[in-house]
Each structure stands twice: as C-alpha cells, then as structure tokens.
C-alpha cells in the first residue's frame, strides 16, 4: 500500500533540503564572492611532476633487461626556502649527505623548480627519515630508479634516458613535464608506452595541496635472447681484437655490428653494435667529458641499423636471384650450370670504342665457374659478365635498372622499419640518382653520369651503393623465406604486412646449397668454419670484402645461415676496417652459429684472406 500522507511529508522535506542547498549556493555566489575572487587572484597553483616508473623490458626468456623500482628520495621544497633559513638547510644537507659536492648543493638552491630531488634515502632507517621530514622544507617522495641489468650488453637496443632537448620536446611533448625522455633505442621508440602518466604534485602557494598519483608505463616483451647477445658481443670483440693484431693499419679497428634475425618470424634475436656504452651511467646524468668521449668513439651510433657500408660480395646474391629469375646469364650462357672460364680479369669494349680491363681479386682467376661456384669462390668476373649483358641489352631503357629493382625488392635503399629510432636508408644508385647528385653534390659523380662501369661496380656491391647490416640480413632472410617484412624487437608490435617476392622452392634450395658450399671445401669461408667438423655440412653463408676509398682498410662482411637443412636464423656480421670477410667476419659469425646450434663455442680465429 502506497501512503500518500507520508509521501507528501517526504516531498516537503525534500523541498526544504533543495531550498537549503540553493540558499547555500546563493550565499557563496553573492556575499562570499568578493573574498573568493581575491583569494583566487592571490592563490598560485603550480604543479610539479614526478615521473612514474617506466615499463620494464624483458627478453624472450623473460630475463629482465631493464628494471624499474620506486625508491624514496629526499626533496627540498624551494618555496619554503628564504634568506633566513637557507644557510641552515645548506649546512644540514652538507653535514648529512657528505657525498654531495658544494657545487651540487648550490645548484639545488639555485634551481627554479618547486621541488628539487636531493638524494636517494632508500638506505636511511625510519627514525632518520622522520627527523628529516620534521624540517618543514623537506619532503619525501618515491622516485623511480631505472636499472639496466646487463650494463653494456644490448645498450643500443634498450637505449638510454636523459632530459628532453628542444627537439625531443617536439617529438614527445608529454616528456616535458616529468623532464625525462628516451634518447635512443627502445627507450625512445616506445617512449610514450614506457613512460606512463607522471604523478602530479599540486602546490597552493608554498604548501603541497594535493597529490594525484600517476600510472606506471607498460612493459615491453622483446624477442631478444640476452645469452646469445652476450656471446655475440664477445665474439665481435674478439674479431675486432684479432683485426687489430693482424693488420698494421693507420686507424684502430673498433667498430662492428652483428644482426641475428629469425627467418620465420623476422624477430630480432640479437643486435650488437660496438663500441657500446653503459646506460646506467646516464641515469643520474653523465658528465660532459664522459659524454664527449663516448660521442667521439662513435658509441652512440647503432651500427647494425645506422652504419652504411658498401656491401661488397654479400650483395652478389641479388644478381644471383636476378639471373635465375630473368634468365640473364653471361653472354653465351643460358642456364645456371653452364660455365665461363674466369682468367682473373675481364677486358671489354663499349659502343663508344673505349676499352677497359677489370681485375678479379684472385689474379690467377677461378677457372671454370658457373653461377653456384661463382658464389662459392666469390668470382667477380662471372657477375661482371652479367652486368655487361644487362648493360648491352638494356642501356638507356627502363629495364637498365633491373638490378636496382631487384635490390629494392629485397629492401635495399629504404629503412627496414625495425622498431628502433634513427634507422638509415642506405643508397641504391641508378642513372636518376646520379643525375640528382650531379646537381646537389657534384663532387660525388663523374661528369659523364651513369655508365656501364657503375653497374659493374654495383653488381659486386661496390661503388656508390651503401647498405646497413640489418638491410643485408633482412635481404637474405627475404630470399630464403620468400616474404619481405620488417624486423621487429617488441613481440607485441602491431601485426605487419608480408609481401611475397615470388621465389620458388627450387630457387631457395639452390641458394641454400650454394651458400653451404661457401663454408665447405673450396669455399671462401672454409678456413673459418672447418673447426665445426662434420657439422659444417649443414651451415652456410657468404663472405664480403668491400673496398673503401682513401687509406681505410676494407669492410669485413659475412652473412651466415645457421642450418641449410632447416634454416632458422640469419646472422650478418660487419667489422669496419676489418679487412677480408673470410678472415674476420666469418669466424665471428661461426662463433655465433656455434651458440645458436648449441655446439661447443671456440674462440674467433683468423681465417683465409679472400674477397
């Protein structure tokens, strides 16, 4: 039963409450208004931001590569510091925290921030902390501490942190408030995911009025194998050391890169760049001299994705694919099995009547070679013949750039779009590019423009072509898997498009067989791989020795595949000024393959000198 009487009573009561609230609001908006406007004008509200713990970074086996933890820090509320109490606080800090130098203490008091972080007080006991905050200008807040668990290992992948520069602020506006940003590596590429929302500390005049807790950043799960990364770094260091021992060159060898890609998924398993740095040194700021030293040594360059080198003979695989696909073989040949006789040099004439002689790296020549054995022995003459064939058949037509087109289909000339910042594009030269350069950088090209000799240079990976180690690794991966895609480190990176390049299974089998011959008897890398014993029959690769202009020693290249019967990983190694690919890069790669295939790991030994 509904009781009308009680309902009427209740309605009256509600009406009264309504009126009371309305009256309250009316009072606020009329009689209190003047006073409120004055206090609004007088009050200054400012916000200080404390970064939230950044997301942590893990490798494929759930090893923590980068960790974050909240630790209590002592802060000074500068709004409460005045001429009277300043010296008292200065003395207190000097006395209690002797590690802080006088300069640093001056800096604290000269800061224009609301709060200044003084020191980590994780190790202070409760009583000491209490006595600190009994002083009214001291505050204790949790501040995130970033730790790079493996120090220098994988430093270029994870990157390092710093205060945002003007440019950083443009790229990551949200990093301005917490005043911290990823300067390189994953820390930069995934800055917005990793950073989270900073905690806001709101000041009303000199008092902290409210604290709005932020949210921590998202973790990143990578495809890296930190164990392999460690072994690969060691191997590269050994290779560099070996090169310094063996060669008497003007420049000290110190730069190199290794890329390990999973052929099936294109996950990056390892990415080594030397020289490296310890990201932990940047956490509390690094001195300008230390920074400059690292900068001059080239430690901030991520060579696997930023080092642009002529690829040398590892590039021959492009012409290898083209020859099979387009049936373009040296003049007079029509299949991969027919041979030419390599006499160690090639002399030929062009339509304009000029006569030229090109010398192979092996003066006596390679004898009778077909497509496969010219990969095995890295015979230049065979590939020059292919270039001549292209030039003579297609010069001046759109088809003259067919080699470049094949190179671009494998990803040369554009960044691979790996999830790391500052990746370089490399260069695949053609007539058009030379014409552009003739205007923009005339010192780089001859006045005649693009000539047959340029194509002959290009086919063996020399001349104007440059590529990054990851481009080369990705190109081999693309040929073996049949799909062009981008390499990635973050396992949760948004799904990617795979582009089929249309290779047949037969072709892949031939390619693997020929790569396998390189590491076997008679191949250019046999000396470096013979230590594998019987197992050498299942690995493969391609050596490369790229010439540099000036008095720089050659760039040492090797691209390896862990198994030809069941290819899973592509390994690309570069040692800048490391000389012959067979001598340095090949044994370095061999050591990485030993780790990948869980064989006994033997030291890097100098191989045979070839090109």
């Amino acid at each position: 039963m509904f009781f009308q009487q009680k309902f009427r009573l209740l309605t009256t009561l509600i009406g009264l409450i309504f009126l009371t609230l309305l009256f309250n609001v009316y009072n606020l908006q009329t009689s209190d208004r003047e006073a409120s406007l004055v206090s609004v004008n007088k009050q200054t509200l400012d916000t200080f931001y404390i970064p939230s713990p950044r997301g942590e970074i893990f490798d494929a086996n759930n090893n923590k590569l980068v960790s974050s933890s909240l630790e209590p820090h002592l802060f000074l509320n500068l709004r409460k510091i005045n001429a009277n109490n300043r010296s008292q606080y200065e003395q207190y800090i000097q006395y209690n925290f002797v590690d802080l130098g006088e300069d640093l203490i001056d800096e604290i008091f000269e800061s224009e921030d609301l709060l200044v972080r003084i020191v980590n007080i994780q190790d202070l006991n409760f009583d000491n902390r209490q006595s600190l905050i009994s002083l009214e200008a001291f505050e204790i807040f949790d501040f995130p501490v970033r730790k790079y668990e493996y120090n220098n290992i994988a430093s270029h992948i994870v990157g390092y942190l710093g205060e945002p520069s003007f440019e950083d602020a443009k790229d990551f506006p949200l990093s301005i408030n917490p005043n911290i940003v990823g300067k390189s590596g994953l820390e930069r590429y995934y800055q917005d995911d990793l950073a989270g929302q900073p905690t806001e500390i709101i000041f009303k005049d000199d008092e902290i009025a409210q604290i709005i807790k932020g949210t921590p950043g998202k973790d990143i799960f990578t495809s890296l194998d930190i164990k392999l990364q460690t072994i690969a770094t060691e191997s590269l260091l050994q290779g560099i050391e070996l090169a310094n021992e063996k060669y008497e060159t003007k420049n000290k060898v110190q730069k190199g890169a290794i890329v390990v890609l999973d052929i099936r998924t294109n996950e990056v398993i390892s990415l080594v760049s030397l020289p490296d740095y310890n990201p932990n040194n940047f956490v509390d700021g690094i001195s300008q001299t230390d920074f400059n030293k690292l900068n001059i040594s080239g430690a901030f360059i991520n060579y696997p994705i930023q080092g642009q080198y002529p690829p040398g003979s590892v590039f021959k695989v492009v012409a290898y694919w083209l020859a099979e696909q387009e049936n373009i073989f040296p003049e007079g040949l029509s299949s991969r099995n027919q041979r030419i006789n390599c006499k160690g040099s090639l002399s030929f004439g062009f339509d304009d009547g000029s006569q030229q002689v090109y010398n192979d790296w092996k003066e006596d020549g390679h004898g009778n070679v077909d497509l496969g054995s010219s990969i095995k022995q890295s015979c230049n003459v065979y590939f020059w013949d292919i270039a001549l064939k292209i030039w003579r058949d297609y010069e001046g037509t759109t088809a003259e750039s067919i080699l470049q087109q094949y190179a671009k289909n494998l990803g040369f000339g554009t960044a691979t779009n790996i999830d790391l910042p500052y990746e370089a594009n490399g260069v695949v030269p053609d007539r058009e590019l030379f014409e552009n350069w003739a205007i923009s950088q005339p010192e780089r090209v001859r006045p005649e423009g693009w000539l047959g000799g340029d194509l002959m240079n290009l086919i063996i990976g020399q001349g104007a072509i440059t590529s990054t180690p990851i481009q080369v690794a990705n190109a081999y991966r693309t040929l073996i898997s049949g799909n062009l895609s981008y390499p990635y480190i973050n396992k949760n990176r948004e799904s990617q498009s795979e582009e089929s390049i249309g290779v047949t299974e037969d072709f892949v089998n031939f390619l693997l067989k020929d790569l396998n011959s390189v590491t076997n008897e008679g191949g250019t890398a046999h000396a470096s791989f013979s230590i594998l014993g019987n197992k050498v029959k299942d690995v493969g690769g391609k050596t490369g020795t790229a010439q540099n202009s000036g008095d720089k020693n050659n760039t040492s290249w090797f691209v390896g595949v862990d198994s030809v019967s069941n290819p899973r990983y592509i390994i690309a190694t570069v040692v800048e000024e490391g000389g012959s690919g067979s001598a340095i890069a090949a044994p370095v790669t061999r050591r990485v393959i030993q780790s990948l295939r869980e064989m006994e790991i033997t030291p890097v030994k100098f191989g045979e000198i070839t090109e």
Binding site: M1, K6, N24, V25, L28, Q29, S36, L45
Partner: protein, 356 residues
C-alpha cells in the same frame, strides 16, 4: 489505457515535457564540457564528442523503452533484478582497476552494473510491495545486493541505494518502528563488517579524515562556484586554470557550471529538475497503479539524492563520495542509466494519458 498509434518517435503520446527537459539538461552538459575541453573534435577521446555520442544513444534508448508496457516491466522485474545481482557477484572475479572492481571491460566502453542496480532495486521493491511480500525478506534481499556494491567498494552508490530503499519503505504501509528496526539491523551489520575487517580502511579514512581537514578539491570548488557570482563568467576559460579542481568534468562538474553560468544558471538547472519532479509527483498522486506509484517514488528518490549528494559534496558540506550529477556529469554509463529511468517514466506518463 487507450490504443495508441505507433509512430516514428515511439507510440503516439511521447511526453514532450519529459523529452525537452532531458534534452535541455544534456545540452547544458555539453556547454559546460565545452568550457572544460579543448573544443570539439570528431574523436571518441574528446570528452565533449563522447558525451554527444552518448546523448544520441540515450535518446534512442529512451524511445525504445517507451515500447515496453508497465505490465511487461512488472513481469520482467524479478529476472532483471536477478541478472544484475549475478553480474554484481561475478564482478569480484574481474581484475581490480585502481583498487576497485566496478566495471566489466567491453572494449570501447566499460559496463558498470552498479548503475543498473539502482533501477533494478526500485523495480524489485515496488513489485514486492504490490505483491505484499513479507517486508523483512524484502529488506534482506535488498541489503544483500547493496552489500555487493559496498564491497566493490563503492561508498557513494551504497549510500544512494540505502537511501532509495529507506525512502521506498517510508512511503509504504510499514510502521515507523519497523524502519527503526531496519536501521538498527543495518547498523549492526556495519559493525560486524568493521569488526571482521571487511571494511576498507580507506573507506573509513574518507569519512573520518573529513572532520580534521577540509578537502582541497572542495575548498577549490567552493572558490569556483563563488567566483561565478549572479551572472557567471560566461565561457571564460583562462582564469579558471587558477582554480584547480580534479575530476572537474565528472564529479565536480557542478562547480564548473556554476562558475560559467552563475546563480541564474543554477536557478535554471534547479528549475528544470523541480519542474520534472513536480510532474512526477502529480502522477504519483493521481495514478491508480500501486506499482507505478512505487516505481516513480523510487526513481525520484534515486535522482534527487544523486543531486543532493553531488551538490553537497561540491559545496563542501559532506565528504567527497564520488557521485555524478545526473545528465550533467561526463560519463556514458550514467547517461544511459538515466535514459532508462526517463524512458520508463515516459511510459508511465503515456499510460496515464499525460502527453504534454
């Protein structure tokens, strides 16, 4: 009820006053959100655009509900109440967000069953009263679903649900001393929870701390309301930054409204709501259906006390409870739930032949 033609806008006789009030209140919300956001952009992350989308959805829902007759609503009351209660139970299996379990994550939007228990509880109690079930059992059932909300924890909604239940009991034929008994029972439960540590210390602190310190957000929101004056600052966006109010677009939106549109704006807002409640009260007194009387009384209690609690919080006379202002605060769940209430009320108006 006489037969009505079905038109594009629901059955003939949709109550225009109700619809206009609903739309004007939503429009006021857009204006206020406009002063708080960086303008309008066609992006669901833009709060104003999101609110407009939800308003449009809620208008559709309003008309859709008009098709359901009160007899059908009466019929589906128990299954509906049961369903929401089950959803409230299973919410304890979800991952807590910022320490509370309140939402089912449905991708684009979050589903918040405690918004719908407000409706389900009103229908449930009304039906039980009409069917003349034992009042003690009704009280126990209600208390059970309320305690589910309490343990989410959601103190604001719990208070509201208790108020709804009490006011519905008050207008029934129950004796006053039974209500006192019910209150005592609730009190005993509270202390049992307290004794066994089932009450969050955080919830208690919220109540007890209030008497020691004035909440910063509340003192700021008082300043904002006060600065509005009689006529308001009218779309002023620079100086309001000097006043800091957290969650200003949701729980504290009344302060932004009063700042921009002043006491005249407040009068308009109150006027619209009072007119709405006046129309509802008239139906309560004239309708012949007991079920409709209780449903209307329950819904009114729900809306009125949401408004009371919200304004009292914003002007600082009670502790911060986190209660949105119906149809003014930003938030999809709240608009949708309020649209359901308006839809049912509209149906009752139609069935009582009140069309203007």
């Amino acid at each position: 009820m006489r037969e009505r033609k079905i038109t594009l806008l629901g059955p003939e006789g949709t109550n225009l006053t109700l619809l206009v009030i609903f739309l004007v209140l939503n429009f006021i919300s857009w204006l206020t959100l406009f002063t708080l956001s960086d303008g309008l952009s066609l992006d669901l992350n833009n709060s104003l655009f999101r609110q407009i989308v939800f308003t449009l959805l809620s208008v559709i829902l309003f008309f859709a509900i008009t098709y359901i007759s009160m007899d059908q609503i009466n019929l589906y009351t128990f299954p509906f109440f049961g369903l929401i209660t089950i959803l409230l139970i299973f919410i304890f299996t979800t991952d807590p967000k910022e320490g509370v379990r309140r939402w089912y994550d449905l991708g684009v939007i979050d589903f918040q069953p405690s918004e719908y228990i407000k409706i389900a509880l009103v229908l449930f109690i009304s039906k039980c009263f009409v069917e003349n079930y034992n009042k003690v059992y009704i009280g126990i059932f209600s208390l059970f679903s309320i305690s589910l909300v309490f343990f989410q924890p959601d103190l604001g909604t719990t208070t509201l649900l208790i108020v709804i239940t009490l006011s519905m009991f008050l207008v029934s034929d129950i004796r006053i001393r039974s209500i006192i008994f019910l209150l005592l029972l609730g009190g005993i439960f509270f202390f049992i929870f307290l004794e066994f540590g089932l009450i969050n210390q955080y919830q208690l602190n919220r109540v007890t701390n209030f008497f020691e310190t004035v909440d910063f957000a509340q003192s700021q929101s008082r300043l904002a309301i006060s600065s509005g004056g009689i006529t308001g600052q009218f779309f002023e966006v620079d100086k309001i930054n000097q006043i800091f109010i957290p969650v200003q677009s949701t729980d504290f939106i009344f302060s932004a409204f009063a700042y921009q549109f002043g006491f005249l704006g407040v009068l308009l807002l109150f006027g619209l709501w009072i007119f709405f409640f006046y129309r509802v009260a008239r139906i309560i007194l004239t309708t012949n259906s007991e079920f409709e009387k209780f449903v209307l009384a329950g819904f009114s209690a729900s809306l009125i006390f949401q408004i009371f609690i919200n304004i009292s919080t914003v002007i600082g006379v009670i502790p911060v409870t986190g209660m949105p202002f119906p149809l003014l605060s930003l938030g999809g769940s709240s608009i949708i739930a309020t649209a359901v209430i308006f839809g049912i009320i509209n149906r009752i108006f139609i069935e009582n032949n009140v069309v203007i």
